[in-house]
């Protein structure tokens, strides 16, 4: 067993024996997300590096502490990338990206972080080193425990290694800009979504809708002339999508609480006070609002989705939409089965997990 892993196992077993909590942390770029982290630090950055990468297999395996920048640079050398466009928010690691399960603008077209995760090596709360999934794209041997780790915010196990499917970078891209209100933008995005168009991202904010086209050069050109709009020149398109992914766009500035509403793409404009932005073809809605959590959650539920207090605000009302009934029971039992002494990520996701 690798020395770093052996050290983690020891740290986990000791914390379990003492009834102590551990905060699993990579770059700490997403510490703002979820409830405040508790416990002693388990720093993953010492376990870093790409373990295996063969561009023709479309798979990369890396240690969890590998900086996301570094991993993306390795892929870029071969003209490939992480198609779910995980946000960096600073010095992100690949382990943290998988644990947080966040996806960027391209999610609407290609899928989320969980869709690209093929396998993991983890250490559970008992200190057992376990491998689930693998390095191949089709694998139904055993339950899909690998994907279960995605978005679990480090509450089930420590990620040691992750294997991800990668894709070739698109040959061509173009960004188009349209002026329209939110309701019109939602209608257009859903209409376009039902047609074979190479739309890979969308962002509506303050009366302006921008869409990105990606694919073969001919396809991007054909779609671009069909959709119309104003073509963003030079690096303007790329800069916009980077700013949206990293939440550096002016919409995300300031201290007003930032809510993320995940809704069916065709849900109407919600009657909630505050400034709104739309991504993912209508399926992701951002809201800057000071309204009560209960009001925002009720509106999201009524529209068939859920709301997360993404940044700022009063987390006393919970960051994530509460679970009830058998779902809550299954969550508690899963937590108990992976981490019986509640060593990992105590309270980060829900108070009782």
């Amino acid at each position: 067993m690798d020395g770093t892993i052996a050290g983690w196992v020891e740290q986990i077993r000791q914390a379990g024996a003492e009834g102590a909590a551990l905060e699993i942390r990579g770059g700490g770029s997403k510490r703002f997300y979820g409830q405040a982290p508790q416990g002693k630090l388990l720093d993953t950055r010492g376990y870093s590096g790409v373990v295996a990468y063969e561009p023709t297999e479309l798979v990369i395996t890396a240690r969890s502490g590998t900086p996301l920048d570094e991993l993306e640079a390795v892929l870029a050398e071969k003209g490939q990338f992480l198609a779910f466009e995980p946000p960096h928010f600073g010095a992100a690691t690949i382990g943290g990206s998988v644990a947080a399960g966040l996806s960027g603008p391209r999610r609407q077209a290609v899928g989320a972080a969980r869709d690209f995760l093929l396998g993991v090596q983890v250490i559970d709360g008992r200190g057992e080193l376990l491998t689930f999934g693998g390095q191949v794209m089709k694998n139904v041997a055993g339950y899909d425990v690998a994907r279960l780790m995605c978005g679990s915010l480090g509450t089930l196990a420590v990620l040691a290694e992750v294997s991800l499917k990668v894709l070739p970078q698109p040959v061509a891209e173009a960004s188009l800009r349209f002026e329209m209100d939110q309701a019109t933008a939602l209608r257009r995005l859903n209409e376009w979504g039902g047609q074979p168009l190479p739309i890979s991202a969308s962002f509506w904010c303050q009366g302006v809708l921008t869409v990105r086209l990606s694919g073969a050069r001919a396809a991007v050109e054909a779609a671009s002339s069909r959709l119309g709009g104003e073509i963003l020149e030079g690096g303007e398109g790329g800069a916009l999508w980077l700013a949206v992914r990293e939440q550096q766009h002016p919409f995300f500035a300031g201290e007003t609480p930032l809510w993320r509403l995940s809704l069916p793409s065709d849900a109407p404009v919600l009657a909630l006070a505050g400034e709104a932005a739309v991504e993912w073809g209508g399926a992701e809605r951002w809201l800057r609002a000071t309204a009560a959590a209960s009001e925002i959650r009720a509106a999201a539920s009524a529209a068939g989705g859920h709301a997360t207090l993404f940044r700022g605000g009063d987390k006393a009302a919970g960051v994530f939409q509460p679970l009830a009934g058998p779902l809550a029971t299954i969550h508690k039992r899963l937590k108990q089965s992976f981490d019986p002494a509640a060593v990992f990520g105590r309270g980060r996701l829900y108070p009782d997990l």
């Binding site: 376990l130 055993g142 073969a216």
Partner: protein, 503 residues
Amino acid sequence: MAETMEAVEPGANEADFSGVDRARVIEALARVMPPGSLLYDQEDLRPYECDGLAAYRQVPMVVALPETEAQAAEILKACSELRVPVVARGAGTGLSGGALPHAHGVVLSLARFKQILRLDPVARLAVVQPGVRNLAISEAAARHGLYYAPDPSSQIACTIGGNVAENSGGVHCLKYGLTVHNVLRVRGLTMAGEVVEFGSHALDAPGYDLLALVHGSEGMLAVVTEVSVKLTPKPQLAQCVMASFDDVVTAGNAVAAVIAAGIIPAGLEMMDQPATAAVEQFVHAGYNLEAAAILLCESDGTPEEVSEEIERMRAVLEASGASEIRVSRDEAERLKFWAGRKAAFPAAGRLSADYYCMDGTIPRKRLGEMLKAIQGMETKYGLRCINVFHAGDGNMHPLILFDANVSGELDRAEEFGADILELSVALGGTITGEHGVGIEKINQMCSQFSVAERTTFFRVKAAFDPDGLLNPGKAIPTLNRCAEYGKLHVKNGQLPHPELERF
């Protein structure tokens, strides 16, 4: 870490259900089911004795055919109370014995859940009952220019509930994903009979990704009662390149070269010479019978996109040593190219009395090694094998030909298959890509997963089904079973393929 585990851990031994009282079960179910929806006479039970893996048969104690979710919930509640195992069943096309009945159990057939409840072209989703056939969804969506992307070969017959249970793939999943990538929400029942929804009509749901977890769970975590699938805009055009190669390894390298060129084909399939010979006499697809292997490489999208991509594919395949390249000139010819591939299983059925289909996935670069090893196994077991291969994603379907009426051939075919699966694991792959473990590959799970990993699987099951009543004895082998299998399988103190590094 077996020595540190307490005796109470789930998964140590097979559960014993021999004490189930048949008369009490029938009486309890008759109270909650309308007449005509409960079968318990031997002759009525016979059609349920196996699924698509006919080598394993077991007549169930009772078959229940509910028509509503409420009835299904009552069945589960009654079975929970009486501690009776329940095996959910869709169309019964599964290839790994996942729906093999339990001798002391109830088969819960979802065959009467056949309604498409909602088809929404704006939201691009369909809400369907689990007994709806895979292809029926695409047929219903066609008038909106939409379809349901995963297309397992059995799509005419297989149902969406079973697709969720197995996380089914198909020939287009390199580009369009598996079932798990195309389902938004699964509604189901726990073994306790409680309604539960995994996922949502948004793109994600709060909490753990239980939607991913139920995909491929082989009916062991919950019973599916409703599935919301994503509908995809139908590409305007599809075109297919057929490339012939003088050598299987050259063909394998050509697959890698296509991917390396940054192309993600809509479909990328390989067939070896015995496979093309078998199907050609059957469907006349126009395959080059001189070739050691052929590749089918498909592009779809807008006409501009397809013509650009086809030219890039052609260039890469030529540079990779293809001896002949043909591009489909029209839709009829494209379908003809595919007809051969899709007829591979029936063709095997014509060549041989019986065939045994394997499903391992390996890293593509190990293909040459695998095919050479299979040639050696043909000699070793005295059986023929034809190979069809989802080359794009590394999923192999060797078809082992045998005759069950010839004494010893079935046993040899099973050993041949087990050898292929063990080698798949040793080459860095997995024993099953899309058909599931079921009962068929349960012993090979002992090779792929450690004791601690298998124990984790049992704990995951217990989180959904604490009493272990949903499809017991499938997919995850008990510690006891693996111990028995290990005794049989370690020959002369050596694991199979000791020369290969374990991962």
